[in-house]
Amino acid sequence: MDPPFPAERGVDVYNKKLGMWVFLASEVMFFAALIGSYVILRFGAPGEWAKPGVVLNIKITAFNTFLLICSSVSMVKAYAAVSDGDIGKMRFWLLMTILGGACFVGIQVFEYIHLVERGFVPAGVREGSELAEMVAKGELPGATMGLYGSTFFTMTGFHGFHVTCGVISMLFLYLTKALPGKYTQQDHAGIEVVGLYWHFVDLVWIILFTIVYLI
């Protein structure tokens, strides 16, 4: 009847990794809704957008970007270490990644506080603040500041939320798996899967940094 057929057991990728990739595909769509709204709103905005670097602190964010790239590298180093069987190195790099991520979140919170103090809030520009004066003087376009605030805080806020989730799950893996020595050269799915998530968060930040802070 039939010729011999292959058993066809999927994509030759273990479940957790495939599951993570599938999850990331849905994350792409989630960020597409947020970033897409920003692009569509900015494209159809009633007037000029605020110039980059006027409202947002570029120096501190550039450093933050660098930090996130570093943590992505340290994550991949942790993965490389464990797949070479070097568990100690893996622990070190994983800890570095957690620290990098935590610093990123900390700096972002600091940045938010600073922005809110200057009068930049999700609703736009707060009355009577430093930025409100700049709008009054015409240094900032008042017509689009509302959109600016809405999109900026939503996009970066949800990115920050993702970073926080990543830090928490890495910390969890570090404490429950890495420290007790449950990862081996053969079995380290957790590191690879969380790594994928972490790099994705980094990737989203790379896009966000360019379109929110630099353009």
């Binding site: 990728v13 495939l18 990331l24 897409g36 570029i58 490389a80 360019t210 630099l214």
Partner: protein, 94 residues
Amino acid sequence: MATTTHKHPPYIMIWIYLAVLTALELGLAFEFARNWTFGLKLTLLMILAIWKALLVALYFMHLKFEKWNLRLVALFPLPLVLILLAAGMSEHIW
């Protein structure tokens, strides 16, 4: 995973690569391109951003070393994103 012993990609080199591209972006946005048109800057910055994103996806997320069926999972949403953007923006192109 595990025992597949392809040599690890040069992660440190990619790190430097990413840092340089970021510096280039910052320079483009604030330093040497002040008089360039917005459209040109936008295009160059987007190219740089996508370049960086590709580096992360290909090397850090190992897409370069995966089979096509897994790459497909990663690529599948991208056309949908473009469709959404195109339709949303076409409201204003007329």
